[in-house]
Subunit: 326 residues, 4 copies
């Protein structure tokens, strides 16, 4: 029988792609014990039957907040937005620390309700921290509820953060692999639709723009996502018009990221394959004539979802930030 | 107003992959006029909105046998098995010649009901011809109802036909692109499931084996299909144990196929890409020690479905067999 | 023996991807006869051994200007830049009309020599026409030498042309399939490098920018190309800052393209798969806040190379512009 | 300065795909220290510049046996066959334990010289052990030189071993991802050649057949490899005719593999994606009529090369067999 300690973790919603990676990382985590994985339609199946290569030998259970609370002191919730808030509330009420992968706790209430829907647990918003670790590290430490950023905002914000006070305008042309669209089988995710194709979507407004809007503090930007025939990987190509005031942009990036364990500046344009199945973000900065071009790659399921969630959780629990992620 | 002639054709079920290719071929066919395309859930949409590159500028209609009969003298039906038989009957009753892409008219009744289900239009079976053109050409000419063979049997039977009287045993290891699984979005057809993967399925018995069983006249065979990360393309690798009685297998293939417009013998193992979006079957024959290895490639949507259906239709209507297919 | 008429065409450099597609299109062209295909290292091989699905049953020959001139009155030259100019000169001296796929005749001399190298046939530049058909149609008619535009400029210029007098600044984020990198086997084109990857390249200056520079007449732009795991297909995502002076951009696009046979305005963001193996360019225009977003897709080997070359050739020879391209 | 202990390892030829994975595994190995990586044409570059996601922060050196011997007590050699033997000899002469990934030490001399070429270090053959761990574990323990099996033989032999005494005849239809063809850029490995394609090759005799021949002890078999559009992954579909003498084949597999840490029997046909980037082999056994069908998947760079090499090395050094491989 496992004694109750502060290092037991559950993944709620571990049958989707993001939750599955979270389970995989936590199962191998040296300081944490993955004690429960839940799923909705796949409850009863073993996680490693669904995801053999992740090798998590646990049975997916129906979600029951009391059962989870009896076996874990923290949880990663990987439900779709809307469905996440009630589950998060149930776990917070039972005292668990929670990292939520959905959009439900990323935005202020007004902005959330403008882009999404009525909020199901607004009372939790005040204590929720936006979990872009490199930016909000101090708030994340000790937080009880952290909202892991969306995959697009993670790549774009890491590309833009060092310039944030200088940006006049930015175009973010982002390209994501198909796992970012989730495990649901749709016309969009059908192999025949995706292969030999690249296509922009939601040109008039992808919800992830709300996070850019909030975190960039009003800088003018255009954000267009594209779907590419790749399983895991996301590239944000950012075209920045900035008033540099004589600053060398590369120097700003070095100052911002030289001590960051998961952000690397590269001399060449990075490929998404460089960071596949890692928690890294690789960033390349180049000034071409009047424009600062910043290219930023992540694995959308790792640094763009589950990896960052574990990075957040490590901080919340006082563990070394990189543990389980190397 | 278009005058009623014998060259008007409809495609019933033109929203699926096979039916869509049939519509594309017929729309460009020099002697036939595509006058109607029908669909079930996509009725009301334009075909070229669904399949822009096929450039068929017709609106998909609900299927109505009378309406179709008012505008066409023949039809290609591309419904799933079970659903096809009633539609075929309705069209036959109205005097149309029909090529059916489903399994409903490929097999004798007993065999059909063993592998599939109770037959919905058994009275039509006697007049139905199995539309493997190279084998049943004479019967197809003038037939009123032709059943286009399955994609796997097409490739396998063209690989085996010249040896049919000599075969003692054969292993057919077949690999198909994802369009063969149809347009339905499922876990199996999700890009993330397919990419970076290859997997056998239905090892104990894929229904297409019934066609091999019927056409090979009792030769012993093992048939295992595999799904590969390819959009269109099918390779049947056939390993034949035969009593050659001193015959040169290559000579048998030359005799069988030298005059065939769509079958080519190759000196090197063919790739599926060689025949993509063509009605060709490329066949490579090699004797290695005691075994005859025959490799056969087709485009599963062309020679494996819609292309062969048009080849059949050309024959049924007394047109040159290759018309519209080059 | 074929009588010498004005409708015989050769493809010089038919073993590369662009030249091979040119040969395929011309071989099926109703008014032109493909009489010769040449290649450098592949001379002696049949074209359809190299490219089975294109079905061009000709033997690749060593290039000999006299031999070509004896059998053709026009030619498409598909050599790399630098190598093209001398071949073009030799053919022009023998009276052939030429469409050149390389960069050698796309730019003014000064600009060419700045971006490429010393020009090998500068005396031909004055008569060369930039073959973006929709823009330079009148000059192309009757021209003796036309330079088919680069694939990136084709997509980008068609996206920008209707706005050209209003553009203040534009970001062109372009994504190309691997065939655009040519047939040479390199680390860049290795399957393992390309699959599961997307990467920007030549951020500081791809040579195709020279064409944008020339044709956009000094408008400020940033152009960054990306390589994607696609065989054929190119998307230019253009982010335009314009002084619209009350004009409706969509109206400008309608005026420019409503009569164009190969340019289509779409209500949804187009995918490269929509235009695969067609000569079409699909363009989607959307104003989002202050910015005009224009998305433009082509098949890089068709409208971006060989298809457009045939479109040019049709015009040069007084044939219907779309012949052989539908 | 690192003290000389028995746990220092070098990878000779770490710029190729197999050697690179070996370096990646060893760099994270808890009991071994990767002290040197060598390369031929890439010497001077950092390993993590070539393979960013493997994160091996070492500079590739020219191979110098003395230098390697000064820093390592064992080595994995990942040179092409022919080039490997002299390097292995040089390292063995300096007392290093060696696992060789090439074919040079997998076969008896006569067989090697029949399939390959004159052997460059025949005096080492007597002590070399064929490193299929599950089969030759006892000989590997304490060996000085182990030859890691080819990728195809690994998958096929693990599929066939439990039946070896019963096999009358077997067809091995094998499918491999492109990394198995190595890092060299060729027409065969060009993205455009591979994507949307599947093709058999070396139908008359792939050299890996020599290993099957040797290890299967004369059982009659046919082996045909196929190239598929996958980066890493290999499936061997084996069709066995056996004299079962009343034995249940599944039982034989259970006896053989129930205690094996890296071989798993599955209830469903396994996909290569199940084992991607793991050292696992998944095996599915099904009797269909007279035939035993065995499907076996591995990652060709892991269990089919570098992973198995580390498994061998663990045994040779008396470490737990699975160390560094979970």
């Amino acid at each position: 029988m496992s004694v109750m300690t502060a290092d037991q973790v559950a993944v709620v919603g571990a049958a989707g792609y993001g939750g599955a990676v979270a389970a995989a990382i936590l199962h191998r985590h040296p300081s944490l014990e993955l004690t429960a994985v839940t799923a909705r339609s796949d409850a009863g199946r073993r996680h490693d039957a669904l995801y053999p290569r992740y090798r998590v030998p646990l049975v997916l259970e129906e979600f029951d907040a009391d059962a989870v609370a009896g076996r874990a002191q923290s949880a990663i919730v990987a439900y779709p937005h809307g469905a996440a808030a009630p589950a998060v509330r149930a776990l917070r009420e039972r005292g668990l620390r929670v990292v939520d992968l959905s959009a439900d706790f990323r935005l202020g209430r007004e902005r959330y309700e403008r882009w999404y829907q009525a909020h199901a647990a607004p009372e939790l918003l005040d204590d929720a921290v936006y979990g872009l670790t490199e930016v909000h590290r101090d708030e994340i430490r000790g937080a009880g509820l952290v909202a892991a950023p969306g995959c697009y905002p993670t790549a774009a914000l890491l590309a833009l953060w060092p310039l944030r006070d200088l940006i006049q305008d930015v175009v973010v042309d982002a390209k994501s692999g198909v796992s970012g669209a989730g495990r649901e089988a749709t016309e969009t995710t059908h192999f025949v639709s995706v292969t030999e194709n690249i296509q922009a979507y939601k040109v008039e407004g992808h919800r992830h723009a709300a996070e850019l809007e909030q975190e960039l503090n009003g800088a003018s930007f255009t954000f267009v996502p594209h779907l590419i025939p790749v399983e895991q990987g996301l590239l944000a190509s950012c075209y920045v018009t900035a008033d540099l005031r004589g600053r060398d942009p590369l120097e700003l990036f070095r100052e911002a990221y030289d001590d960051e364990p998961f952000v690397e500046l590269t001399g060449e344009p990075p490929g998404t394959d460089d960071v596949r199945e890692t928690n890294r973000c690789r960033v390349h900065v180049k000034v071409v004539e009047e424009r600062v071009i910043v290219l930023s790659v992540i694995d959308n399921l790792w640094k763009g979802a589950a990896g960052q969630a574990v990075q957040d959780l490590n901080l919340m629990l006082g563990l070394p930030e990189t543990e389980g992620l190397e």
